[in-house]
């Protein structure tokens, strides 16, 4: 299973040297050319960084999943979802077309839905999956609108071309709506406060999926989008304010809520929320240092958070415990896991010489250089840093030290396929920490160039000399350890805060869902009543209102047709028809109604005869006679008329009917005002005798020019006849037993 991601990693590393030198590789396949939608793949530094993270961690996760779900009957299904997700995610980071980006983006939401709901027999999993899908899907729709506006004002759907029009786009009056809509997409996907609540709930997914989607990759799609959009949309006050405000809030809220959790995956989920907030904030700050810190933190976070999730999965798998309070002293039983956990936890806490330390230093450094905003920024990032160390220790160190609860029983180390991936991730944290040059010029600085548009010098390393950032770092380490030691008090102290946050987000989501369902039920009951009459009323009422609206707004005025003054016998004919029609409606006897219907039919036939349509008149006379006979025959066995509707209903129906009739009258008058081009009829009349050898043009049209239509008509008639025969003659077998 891991072969595919590994081969993608190898394939990608082929291009590493070109992206490292700042080149942009492109491949474009037209997909829907009429809509400018192309599958255009672009690989620059940013795409490369993300693609390597996705495929590299994907390979480890695939190996891990093989061990974690070894006994699960649906392992293959899981692998299918996981790999589909990986491809969708690669699509997101490699595409250059906004529409294709959106499609891959939604594909990640859908595959995420499957993965969260993998344990579909659990209600909690189904609910969480739906929640994640709704929140990210809704954001995705907003984003689509934003991307379309962006494409409209930028004049192209290709991101690489939009970059060139950045100035123009930022000056457009549509810039702010586009920005807000795109941010809605990015913020929901990357679980920014107040949309963050879906992420902790998404922990219902199997741990490999949580580690992969909800820590390392999918949730970073929003971050990727922001980084990608930075040269197009970034640099404005709006961008700065929204991103740093939302990002900063998310960072703090995530850390503060996370520290008081006790379930492994929930701690990790909230710290991921916080980490995503950090990334969004850094991109919003937009200084060179902030962007550098963002890329460092991105890699560091993916490495340690992925490892910690996998560790949490191992503990759960080997002991059956999901809560940090229920485990302890596992280092002896799970030595390899403990090693991975310890390294990852220290990286999360920003302890040298791990890569997390370098990222944290850069974070502090960029906060210190924020001018007016330096003080709140520093307070926020240092608080977060302290809580990170606390959470890292809670998850990665606490369970492996101290006394072992007696109810744990015997615990064995997991299969190598499970401890190897987190160890690799944690080891990479160590490697990159000690030898940061390994990725500095190949991956990080090309990625930064993609974000800010130019290359700037970077100096990565563990030791930067004595600086204020170092002092802050030491302070947060000490405080982090203190937090870990006094965790009981902190849990108690933060409790009300947690509830406020829940009330503000998750509870609101629930209320929205309840109301939405109630609304859906109400409108379904209203529209889908099951009464034929109501459907007809709705259809006709909409027809009347829409057509009237169009008539009034479009048609303007039209003249009443007086060009063909009626002669006496025509007036009498019309009067008879009208009288018969009115009387048919009010008839109380069936026979009377049929008789009046017949009168109307003959009247219509006479109108045909008067206005040059003898064929129609003849047919109408025949058919009308047949219809009346048929009615009389059948009605013999049907009940008499009874008044079934109430007076109110009759009045309402009458009003709508008369309105409909009036509308049709108006339409006929309006239609007469329009001059049709008579070419087809004239053509048919001209060809009738010479080509079809018929003197009656109407007949020639029916049997010759439109012969196939007539053929169809005959078929319909014969089918109707068969149906009538079946209904009249065949009787179902009487059911003997009841």
């Amino acid at each position: 299973m891991a072969l595919m991601p590994i081969s993608i990693v190898l394939l990608l590393s082929n291009f590493l040297s070109s992206t490292a030198s700042g080149q942009m590789l492109q491949l474009s396949i037209p997909w829907v050319p009429s809509l400018e939608i192309e599958i255009s793949l672009v690989m620059d530094g940013l795409s490369m960084l993300f693609a390597l993270l996705i495929s590299g961690i994907g390979a480890l996760i695939a190996i891990y999943a093989g061990g974690y779900l070894a006994d699960h009957p649906q392992l293959n299904r899981f692998n299918l979802y996981l790999l589909s997700f990986m491809l969708a995610m690669l699509g997101v980071v490699l595409t250059d077309n906004l529409i294709t980006l959106f499609i891959f983006w939604e594909l990640t939401s859908i595959t995420s839905y499957f993965l969260i709901g993998f344990d579909h027999e659990k209600e909690e999993a189904r609910k969480a999956a739906l929640q994640a899908l709704l929140v990210t899907g809704l954001g995705g729709l907003a984003m689509l609108a934003g991307l379309l506006i962006l494409g409209e004002i930028g004049g192209t759907l290709e991101i690489s071309e939009l970059v060139a029009n950045g100035v123009l786009i930022r000056r457009s009056p549509l810039y702010v709506p586009a920005l807000l809509l795109i941010l809605a997409g990015a913020f929901t996907k990357s679980a920014q406060f107040p949309f963050h609540f879906w992420l902790p709930n998404a922990m219902a997914a199997p741990t490999p999926a949580s580690a992969y989607l909800h820590a390392a990759t999918m949730v970073k799609a929003g971050v990727y989008l922001l980084a990608r959009m930075n040269p197009i949309l970034g640099g404005t006050t709006w961008w700065f304010a929204l991103l740093s405000l939302f990002g900063g809030t998310t960072m703090l809220v995530g850390a503060l809520v996370g520290i008081r959790q006790t379930v492994f995956k929930r701690i990790l989920a909230f710290s991921t929320v916080s980490g995503l907030g950090t990334l969004v904030m850094l991109i919003g700050l937009g200084t060179d240092q902030a962007v550098q810190a963002a890329m460092l933190f991105l890699v560091a976070h993916a490495l340690y958070k992925g490892a910690l999730f996998l560790v949490a999965g191992i503990v759960d798998h080997q002991t059956g415990k999901k809560d940090i309070l229920q485990v302890g002293g596992l280092a002896g039983a799970l030595p390899m896991t403990a090693m991975a956990a310890g390294l990852a936890a220290l990286s999360m806490g920003g302890i040298p010489p791990l890569f997390g330390f370098i990222a944290k230093e850069a974070l502090y450094e960029s906060a210190l250089h924020m001018g007016y905003f330096a003080i709140p920024a520093v307070v926020a990032v240092v608080t977060t840093g302290i809580l990170y160390l606390g959470m890292g220790l809670l998850v990665g160190v606490g369970p492996f030290l101290g006394a072992r609860p007696s109810e744990l029983g015997r615990v064995r180390e997991a299969h190598w396929s499970m401890w190897m991936p987190p160890l690799v991730l944690a080891g990479t944290s160590l490697l990159f920490g000690v030898r940061s040059g390994l990725i500095e010029h190949t991956l990080l600085s090309p990625a930064m160039k993609s974000i800010v548009g130019y290359r700037f010098p970077t100096h990565l390393g563990l030791w930067h000399g004595f600086s204020f950032a170092l002092v802050l770092s030491l302070f947060s380490m000490a405080m982090g350890v203190y937090v870990y030691l006094r965790i009981e008090d902190i849990r108690r102290a933060f409790r009300p805060f947690d509830e406020i946050v829940h009330e503000f987000t998750g509870a609101n989501y629930d209320r929205c869902m309840t109301n939405l369902m109630a609304f859906a039920r109400w409108q379904t009951d209203l529209l889908q009543s099951g009464y034929l009459k109501n459907y007809l009323l709705i259809i006709f009422a909409s027809t009347i209102s829409l057509t009237t609206y169009t008539l009034v707004s479009r048609a303007g005025s039209f003249s009443l047709p007086f060009d063909l003054p009626p002669v006496l016998h025509e007036v009498i004919l019309v009067a008879v028809i009208l009288a018969a029609t009115v009387s048919a409606v009010f008839q109380k006897s069936r026979l009377g109604a049929i008789a009046t219907l017949g009168i109307v039919g003959y009247g219509v036939a006479l109108i045909f005869a008067t206005f040059g349509a003898p064929d129609l008149a003849m047919t109408q006379l025949l058919i009308e006679t047949l219809t009346v006979i048929l009615f009389v025959l059948v009605l013999y066995s049907l009940p008499g008329f009874t008044r079934l509707s109430s007076k109110g209903h009759r009045f309402r129906d009458a009003v709508i009917s008369i309105m409909f009739g009036a509308l049709m009258t108006t339409l006929v008058i309006a239609a007469l005002d329009v001059q049709f081009s008579p070419s087809i009829s004239a053509e048919m009349a001209r060809k009738s005798y010479p080509e079809a050898h018929g003197r009656n043009v109407v007949n020639v049209i029916l049997v010759d020019f439109r012969g196939i239509d007539t053929m169809g008509e005959i078929t319909v008639l014969s089918l109707a006849a068969l149906g009538v025969f079946a209904l009249m003659k065949l009787r179902p077998e009487k059911e003997e037993e009841v």
Binding site: L560, S637, L644
Partner: protein, 115 residues
């Protein structure tokens, strides 16, 4: 005359629509017949009225002598008349059968009938 015809069409539509909104299945079918008359006249009238002259080619000439009635709407209406007869016949048979099976003439009640 066009104006009068337009009024007739409107009246036929009103009557037809009012009747198909009734709860009695018999009135439903009578309403359908009214609607088809109305539609036939609509198509016929929309083509423009010409008094008297049928679109026939007189002996000795190759084409009808103008002014003659537009043959195309006539052909369409002719088809429609026949089809609407088919529909009416089928609907009658169906209603007849429904009534025999369920003993119910109220459409609203049919909603609750299971058979």
């Amino acid at each position: 005359m066009n104006l009068l015809l337009a009024i007739v069409i409107g009246a036929l539509y009103s009557a037809g629509f009012y009747l198909i909104l009734r709860r009695s299945i018999v009135k439903l079918i009578i309403g359908l017949s009214f609607l088809s008359h109305a539609s036939n006249l609509l198509v016929f009238a929309a083509g423009g009225l010409t008094r008297g002259r049928a679109p026939l080619v007189p002996p000795g000439s190759l084409a009808p002598v103008p002014p003659y009635a537009d043959p195309l709407p006539q052909a369409l209406v002719l088809t429609a008349i026949v089809i609407s007869f088919g529909v009416t016949a089928f609907a009658l048979a169906l209603v007849n059968r429904t009534y025999q099976t369920t003993g119910q003439e109220d459409i609203d009640e049919l909603r609750r009938t299971e058979c």
